[in-house]
């Protein structure tokens, strides 16, 4: 079986996000492989290390030239090869799932791993949309995963708690914190990664059009009152806070 692991490149969580010409401007921003996708890369490696019959682990990224860096990180962590569909066009998750599904079929993929929510779009849609296109089951927000033969078992979070599950491959799994601790690429592995295949595809090969137009982006910060209450006298501070919550903010009765 081959595993496809999807990789996005996003701003570091602590990085400041700038807007320029009504769009997010990532120029000069520290960019990293999306943390949630990193759990997916790590899980693919662990599944192989734990004895699952994994032939190849392939990392896929769709985006501008710079996303090569995120793919190099995945290669240095241990994936076997990478595919980069290079485009500066911004594709929504449903359109993007069309590319992922085509590659999954062409590469004989049995398991797709993707982050539960991307830190750039704040979207949870890619895994589910891809699963539907392929006619595969999906497990979202997974924090425990095992493969025996073609049976996938594990645990994932749902609205009101968590569930243990069982499904037959092929499947799409979305990953999250708790699943594993991603490894750091070592220097020898970073050197080795330079020799691994990083295939470049053109978006036009996939016949995909965006289905959503991006109109505007702005940073809206709600003006906060920033009313600081002196905490030296706990009784007085508590009384004052409750008075403000009841009579000024009117959030308590």
């Amino acid at each position: 079986m081959n595993i496809l692991t999807l990789v996005r490149q996003v701003p570091d969580a602590e990085a400041r996000v700038k807007i320029n010409a009504q769009a997010v401007d990532l120029e000069g921003t520290t960019l990293v492989i999306d943390g949630m996708d990193e759990y997916g890369v790590e899980e693919a490696l662990r599944l192989r290390e734990s004895g699952a019959a994994v032939e190849q682990i392939i990392a896929l990224a769709v985006g501008p030239k710079r996303v090569e860096d995120a793919l190099r990180t995945a290669l240095a962590m241990g994936v076997d090869r990478a595919i980069h569909v290079e485009t500066s066009e911004r594709l929504d998750a449903v359109a993007l799932s069309r590319i992922v599904a085509q590659i999954a079929q062409a590469e004989n993929i049995g398991l797709i791993l993707v982050g539960g929510q991307e830190a750039d779009w704040d979207s949870q849609a890619l895994g589910a949309a891809t699963a539907e296109r392929l006619g595969w089951p999906q497990l979202t927000w997974t924090n425990e995963l095992k493969i025996e033969g073609d049976v996938l078992t594990g645990r994932h979070d749902v609205d009101d708690g968590n569930e243990s599950f069982r499904a037959t491959l092929p499947a799409v799994v979305t990953t999250q914190q708790g699943l594993n601790e991603p490894r750091y690429p070592t220097l020898p592995n970073i050197m080795k990664a330079k020799k691994k295949e990083l295939r470049k595809d053109d978006l036009s090969q996939y016949g995909v059009q965006p289905m959503v137009r991006y109109v505007n982006a702005e940073i809206q910060t709600r003006a906060r009152r920033n009313h600081m209450i002196d905490g030296k006298d706990p009784q007085a501070a508590a009384a004052q806070l409750l008075e403000l919550l009841r009579n000024e903010a009117k959030v308590l009765s």
Partner: protein, 316 residues
């Protein structure tokens, strides 16, 4: 029609459903507002739904007793097609955002995810949504005979009941066999109000000191003022609290009227889950904690001293 898939639990119509009715009324999209109730033994929910919609479609089937992404997607897409829906609205819960993309693919429709505002211009539907860990508000737009939208909980006012009750109709569905088997389930029950429905939330971070303090202060204050209980990732990772209480990027996103953060430092990932709360109140002994930058009311001080005083004062 505007097809809204009702969210309900324990025989009650969820607040998010009423919020979607408002979103539908404000969206400018065409057609009667139709609520689709999926489940088993849902007569009560269907009756409650009638007050908010032009019509209610009910699929009361044993196969739908528990949520399943493939079943919910198949049912929703089928009804949307048969009813020639212009818009399909699904709640922005974890499950809603799980099956909505499948509905969009089935209908070959554009998908606007986690909308906080909806407006129409001509045949296009514009949605505002948060991106970049909720640090950016983007406007996106889609056109088509049908558009699938998820609505972020807490973003619209719950609808008032309409003057006349909508007619109820039973629908027939052709459902697939689900391919995921649930082999066990752990429901994290709480006697308190659900986080995503709560008007007031009290959340504790590592700064409260210990699991015992968490119970005494965070739960104590929540009970004194009738609030839901939240926790930061650090607290959940430390095993003090269940994951169901986690607020933030990898937990729940909440938007209550008041969010009271006790001993919470305010990492970006946490802010992305609660930063849109109407009022933020922070109590932390570290005056430099980032949470104070987004706070409406802040007290620099020891949770151990201030919260017991708050609880006593609130009970007066």
């Amino acid at each position: 029609m505007i097809l809204i898939v009702a969210e309900h639990a324990g025989g009650k119509l969820g607040k998010s459903t009423l919020e979607m009715v408002t979103a539908a009324r404000e969206s400018g999209r065409e057609g009667p507002i139709t609520l689709l109730v999926l489940g088993s033994g849902v007569a009560e929910v269907a009756n409650a739904s009638a007050a908010y919609a032009d019509q209610v479609l009910v699929a009361d089937l044993p196969e739908l007793a528990t949520y399943n992404a493939e079943l919910w997607a198949a049912a929703t897409a089928q009804i949307a097609q048969e009813g020639e829906a212009s818009t399909v609205m699904i709640g922005g819960s974890r499950s809603g955002r799980e099956y909505a993309p499948r509905v969009a693919v089935k209908l070959d429709a554009p998908y606007l995810e986690d909308a906080i505002r909806l407006t129409s211009s001509g045949s296009a539907l514009q949605a505002q949504r948060y991106t970049y860990l909720a640090r950016v508000t983007e406007t996106v737009e889609a056109e088509g005979p049908v558009i699938v939208v998820t609505v972020k909980p807490g973003s619209f006012a719950p609808a008032q009941a309409a003057g006349t009750a909508g007619e109820q109709y039973d629908v027939e569905l052709t459902l697939p066999t689900p391919r995921v088997e649930v082999t066990g389930k752990s429901v994290e029950k709480t006697s308190r109000v659900a986080l995503t429905e709560a008007d007031v939330i009290v959340t504790g971070g590592r700064g409260v000191g210990s699991p015992e303090n968490f119970s005494a202060y965070v739960e104590g204050l929540a009970d004194a003022i009738g609030a839901g209980v939240g926790a930061t990732r650090a607290v959940v990772d430390a095993g003090w609290r269940p994951y169901a209480e986690q607020v933030g990027q990898t937990g729940k996103t909440v938007q209550p009227g008041a969010y009271i953060a006790l001993g919470v430092s305010g990492a970006v990932q946490h802010l992305s889950g609660m930063g849109k709360s109407k009022h933020i109140i922070a109590i932390n002994k570290d005056a430099e904690a980032p949470i104070f930058k987004v706070a409406d009311y802040g007290i620099v001080g020891d949770v151990n001293q201030i919260v017991p005083a708050l609880i006593a004062e609130a009970r007066k």
